[in-house]
Structures are given as structure tokens and as C-alpha cells.
């Protein structure tokens, strides 16, 4: 990767302040309001270092969730939660019944690792469900919970088809990845993407990322990874059921379920009208029955 010409202007280690439009130097993209930004997480180059998890916790001041061992390979984080906004999944594909093979192919090809995150859906179910307007679409086309408005009703939690949003028992508010809204406002790329040492997590403008991802899939197919596909781009698995597309999308090499992702999630808001209409029809029918029953007794008496 070539160095950005502006990077030569900042050779010193101690900087007096934030570099203007720093994301240009680190991610090759200038962050401007009104455009769509997102993550492209290429799982084929993830090495499972969890630098993203740590960077996220550091930047967002999030406490640890679990200090024990889960027994699920090297995944001791478990799942995304109110305090964990990046989660690296570890899947061991070789070996059987939990016993690791004694023979391994080179390059650790028996591993699948994926850094999971909030998908920042185009038609975000959490946002559509939020009754207070605490969840909103930012000027960067990302989905953020406003902590000064959320009243902890918890309706966004079951609304999310990916099991991302969580209510914290500590402060009673919903929390999830903000795609580093504060950093984007300051022209910085999100902490996880900046910390990722292999560029498995790439931050950028959505259309650019999607084109780059298509290219990467083609390259992988050429190199003999026929199972590589995108999850969350328009028309792909994960972007089903009227969700549109996911601003944080993934390149996967196994079924979505292997990574704990749904193959065909749906948009819950599409179920509002059918269920309301059927319920009201049933009640209206019974109300007509009630009018006949009560009215009939009237006639019979008179």
C-alpha cells in the first residue's frame, strides 16, 4: 500500500493535536457528512488477534464482560453485548468432537475467525422499533443510540435480527457499536479498523468498499477458494427480507450459521400492518357479534 502524500507532513511521534482528516492517511477515505460509511470485514485475513476488541473497549471506555474461559476455542468473549461491540468468533474446522487434529495443513487453514460487529443495517430494525427516537441514522448513514434519550424499554433487543443490541443492567440503557460516531465527526477512522493489523476490518465509503469486496471475492475464487462470498451486500445472504443492505458487511467462506449469523434475516416492521389488520378484523367481527347479541335481547324483550 502506498503512503498518502500528506503523511510526510507528520513525521513526529508526538503530535500537537488531531491530524486534520486523519482517516485519509489511515484508511484512504475522507469522512464527510451525507455519505454512507461502513465496514468491510474480510474474514479470510483475520488472524484472531482481538486488537479490534481491545481498541473498541479502549476508545469507548467499555468494561470487560467475562474474565473466565468459555471453552469455545479461543473465543472467551462469547457474544456482542452492551459492553462488547466487537467480538472475534473462532471456529475450528478440522478435528472432530472437540478434539484437535495432530496434523494441520500449513497456514492454519483449519481456522475460521471473524470479527463480528453491529451491521448498521440500511433498514435498521432496532431503529424502526425504537419508540423514543433514541436510535437514529447519523449523517454518516450509521445507526447510533442517543444515551440521553433511551429509556431502556428494551424493544430494540428482540428487534435486532443479529442479536447485537443489548440493554446494560448497570445504567439501564441500550448500547451497541456506534461505528465510532465521535471519531467520524473528528475525521478519524473507527478504532477497530485502525487497530486491525491485517486490514481484515476495512473502513470506508460503502460503494467503494462493496466494489473492493467484489474484487476480493473474484481474486479468492481465482486462487482456489471457491466458497468465498459476501454477506450483507445488496441481494446477498444477510441482506434479505427487505433489510436493504448492511453497512457493515462480511466476506465469509462457510455457511453464515457457522459464524452465528442468520442466512436470511427479515425486516420486522413488515409484520406490523398484517398483524394489526388481522387483529382489528377479529375484534371488529366480535364487536358486530356483540351488537347483534345485545341488540337481539333488546328486541326480544320489547
Amino acid at each position: 500500500m502506498t503512503m498518502h502524500p500528506r503523511a510526510a507532513d507528520f513525521p513526529q511521534s508526538d503530535l500537537p493535536g488531531v491530524i486534520p482528516h486523519e482517516s485519509e492517511l489511515t484508511a484512504g477515505v475522507r469522512i464527510e457528512p451525507g455519505r454512507s460509511y461502513g465496514f468491510f470485514t474480510d474474514t479470510t485475513v483475520c488472524i484472531g488477534c482481538k486488537a479490534c476488541e481491545v481498541a473498541c473497549k479502549e476508545w469507548n471506555n467499555l468494561p470487560a464482560d467475562n474474565l473466565g474461559l468459555t471453552g469455545h476455542s479461543y473465543d472467551n468473549t462469547g457474544a456482542l453485548s452492551a459492553n462488547t461491540w466487537r467480538h472475534v468468533a473462532f471456529v475450528e474446522t478440522s478435528g472432530c468432537g472437540g478434539v484437535r487434529d495432530t496434523v494441520e495443513a500449513p497456514f492454519q487453514s483449519g481456522w475460521l475467525m471473524m470479527s463480528d460487529v453491529c451491521k448498521h443495517c440500511h433498514n435498521a430494525p432496532c431503529l424502526e422499533a425504537c419508540p423514543t427516537g433514541a436510535l437514529f441514522k447519523t449523517e454518516f448513514d450509521t445507526v447510533v443510540v442517543q444515551q440521553d434519550i433511551c429509556n431502556g424499554c428494551g424493544y430494540c433487543v428482540p428487534a435486532c435480527p443479529f442479536g447485537v443490541v443489548d440493554v446494560s443492567p448497570v445504567d439501564g440503557k441500550a448500547h451497541k457499536c456506534t461505528l465510532c460516531y465521535d471519531r467520524l465527526k473528528g475525521g478519524l477512522e473507527p478504532a477497530c479498523a485502525k487497530a486491525c493489523p491485517t486490514d481484515s476490518i476495512q473502513f470506508g465509503e460503502l460503494s467503494v468498499l462493496q466494489a473492493r469486496a467484489e474484487e476480493r471475492v473474484a481474486v479468492l475464487h481465482e486462487r482456489g477458494v471457491p466458497g468465498a462470498y459476501l454477506y450483507g451486500t445488496p441481494g446477498a445472504p444477510g441482506a434479505t427480507g427487505d433489510l436493504g443492505h448492511l453497512n457493515a458487511f462480511f466476506l465469509l467462506t462457510a455457511r453464515p450459521e457457522v459464524y452465528n449469523l442468520p442466512a436470511a434475516p427479515t425486516r420486522p416492521a413488515n409484520r406490523v400492518a398484517p398483524s394489526l389488520a388481522s387483529g382489528l378484523a377479529a375484534v371488529a367481527g366480535l364487536a358486530v357479534a356483540a351488537a347483534f347479541l345485545l341488540g337481539a335481547s333488546d328486541r326480544r324483550r320489547s
Binding site: Y155, A263, T266
Partner: protein
């Protein structure tokens, strides 16, 4: 450049397929449950952080109040002064949702002091927002109706009070229909598999159960025997509709593969408590009472009626709590949620 290390051209023997095997070798088969890979059997979704007894209790009270307001308006319109006691009781019963129901809702918030932030937006995509405004509107109309009823009963401007109660009673009835059913929409418009699997059937069940509870509650308190019979017939009709909804929901659960989530404790409560105790038993009791009436022993049937009415009310409350619990079970089980999120369950056209 020559390779410095031996390269295996073939990997190790493929292992035996197992449920959480990550190779993707296990083909998904549309069936009762997902037998493909899961992520260490961990949940793929998060269950709703609601307290089921609290929110289920609210849904029950909302249904009871909503249908009471409907019955108050209908009884007033069709029977007028003759149905005075029935209308009075129905108008007062409609106060359960604005008072106790609202308190339960606020209690269930994780930050109750901010309950008012619900009132800063109105959203058609969020049944909780729709429900907030239905409850607000209903509360206003129901409280006004009940206040006018109270004033009229105490002889304070009885004529004007009657007009106000009638005028406010109609919007209360219309909003009451929404209050009885929006709660089903609230559960259906989530990603929790069991709630999302049968949006229409769930709404029919909740709506019919609300009407059954309202009519049963008013029948329990009714002193006029013919009117009580009519209310009990209405209860039986609502129970029949609810039973049809139960059957439709069970079929949808089987078709979409979420049925395994109903085999837990909550599912058993739903089957035996909500359907058995709350629908089938009262229908049988009403049939027995009807048979006794025919046999010319109407007074013997009073105990049967009371038992049936109480069973309907208990079943209506259990239905809501059990559906919420079974939904949580379905969200916690990756085999159920992965089966539900297969492409064959996508709605047509998407």
C-alpha cells in the same frame, strides 16, 4: 523461489459430521429443527429483556380494558338506559389499562424515570410507539367516560354527563380495539422466531382473547340473567375465534420450524393453561350450562358460568405470559432461530 517447508497437498481426513461442525458439510434439511452448524450452541439472538409477568400482565389488562370500552359503547347504543349497570361496570373496567396497566409498563422500563421520552416521537414502524399513542388516546377517552359516568351517578348534571360519556365512549371503543390487538403486533414485529412466525394468527388470538376476557368479566358481575346469557354467548364466540387462531398459529409454527420452542415450560403453560384451561374448558362449561338450561334447570348452571368466567380470565392472562416466555425460548435456541431464518421462510417477493 523454492519452498522451504513440506507442503501437504491434501488436508487431514474430513471428520464425521456433527451438529456444530463448521465445515458446512452438513446440508440443511427443512425439518422440525435446524440440524446444521451452530456456533457452539450459543444463542444467535437476544431474548427481549422484558419481565414476562409484568408485560404479560399489561397485555392482559390492555385487552380487558379495550374490550370493556367496546362493550360499553355497544351496550349503550343497543340497549340504552336498560343496560345502565352493565355500561357502568364496563366503563369502570376500562380504567384498568390507563391506571394499573400504565404503571406496569413504566415499571418494566430499565430507566423508568424517562418514561416520557416515549412521547417525543410517533412511528408507524414501531408498534410500541403506535401502542404508546393508542394508550394515551384511550386513557384520555376512558377516563373522561368514567368520570362522566361517575358524575352522572352522583347526580352532577346527569344529562350533560350522559352526553359526554356517550361522546367520549365511541373514540374509547375504537382505540380499545387497537389496545386489544396492538400488543400482538408489538411481539410479531421483532426477530424473535416464535413471535415473528405467525403475525396474523397471534393478533387474532390476542384480539379474541381480549374480547373473551372483557365479556367474561362483565358476565361474572352481571345480575340480569338474560344479559348474562348474552355475554356468555359472546364469550364463547370469542373463544371459538381464539381456538381457530391457536390452530392457525400451531400450523405456522410447524411450517416455519419454530415448533420445538413450544416444547419447554412456557409452551406447556400455553397449551394446558391458555388453551386448555382458558379456551377448551370454558367452552365445555358453557355447553354444559346451555344443556342444563335446555333441561329446565337454569339456576343449577350459575356455578358453571362463574367457573367458566374465571377460567377465561386466567387463560387470557396465561396466554400472554406464556407466549412471551415461549418467544424467549425460541430466541435462546440457535437451532430454532437458524431454522426460522432460512431463505424458504422469507416472505414472498423478498
Amino acid at each position: 523461489m523454492t519452498t522451504q517447508y513440506p507442503v501437504l497437498t491434501e488436508g487431514p481426513e474430513p471428520g464425521l459430521p456433527r451438529p456444530d461442525r463448521a465445515s458446512g458439510a452438513v446440508a440443511p434439511s427443512p425439518g422440525p429443527a435446524w440440524d446444521g452448524p451452530t456456533y457452539y450452541g450459543r444463542a444467535q439472538l437476544k431474548p427481549a429483556p422484558f419481565e414476562n409477568a409484568v408485560v404479560g400482565g399489561y397485555i392482559f389488562l390492555a385487552g380487558l380494558s379495550g374490550s370493556s370500552a367496546i362493550l360499553a359503547a355497544i351496550a349503550q347504543a343497543t340497549r340504552g338506559e336498560e343496560a345502565g349497570p352493565l355500561v357502568r361496570r364496563a366503563r369502570y373496567t376500562a380504567l384498568l389499562a390507563p391506571t394499573l396497566g400504565s404503571a406496569l409498563l413504566i415499571y418494566d422500563l430499565h430507566t423508568p424515570s424517562r418514561f416520557y421520552t416515549m412521547l417525543r416521537v410517533a412511528k408507524a414502524t414501531s408498534p410500541m410507539s403506535i401502542g404508546t399513542w393508542i394508550l394515551m388516546g384511550f386513557s384520555g377517552c376512558a377516563i373522561l367516560t368514567a368520570a362522566a359516568q361517575f358524575a352522572g351517578d352522583r347526580g352532577v348534571a346527569p344529562r350533560a354527563a350522559g352526553v359526554v360519556a356517550r361522546l367520549a365512549g365511541w373514540p374509547a371503543a375504537v382505540l380499545g380495539a387497537g389496545l386489544s390487538t396492538y400488543t400482538a403486533s408489538l411481539l410479531a414485529a421483532t426477530s424473535t422466531p416464535l413471535w415473528a412466525a405467525a403475525p396474523r394468527a397471534l393478533a387474532v388470538r390476542f384480539g379474541a382473547s381480549s374480547m373473551a376476557a372483557g365479556a367474561a368479566a362483565l358476565a361474572l358481575a352481571e345480575t340480569d340473567a338474560p344479559t348474562r346469557r348474552r355475554l356468555e354467548t359472546l364469550t364463547a364466540a370469542a373463544l371459538a375465534v381464539e381456538l381457530a387462531g391457536d390452530a392457525a398459529a400451531a400450523l405456522a409454527y410447524r411450517r416455519t420450524g419454530v415448533a420445538p420452542a413450544t416444547r419447554g415450560r412456557a409452551g406447556r403453560v400455553e397449551r394446558f393453561g391458555a388453551v386448555g384451561l382458558g379456551v377448551v374448558l370454558p367452552l365445555g362449561l358453557y355447553a354444559a350450562r346451555h344443556w342444563r338450561d335446555r333441561a329446565g334447570r337454569p339456576e343449577d348452571g350459575r356455578a358453571l358460568s362463574v367457573a367458566a368466567g374465571l377460567a377465561v380470565l386466567a387463560g387470557s392472562a396465561l396466554l400472554r405470559v406464556a407466549v412471551m416466555g415461549a418467544g424467549d425460548d425460541s430466541a435462546a435456541r440457535p437451532d430454532v432461530s437458524f431454522r426460522f431464518s432460512q431463505p424458504d421462510n422469507l416472505p414472498p417477493g423478498l
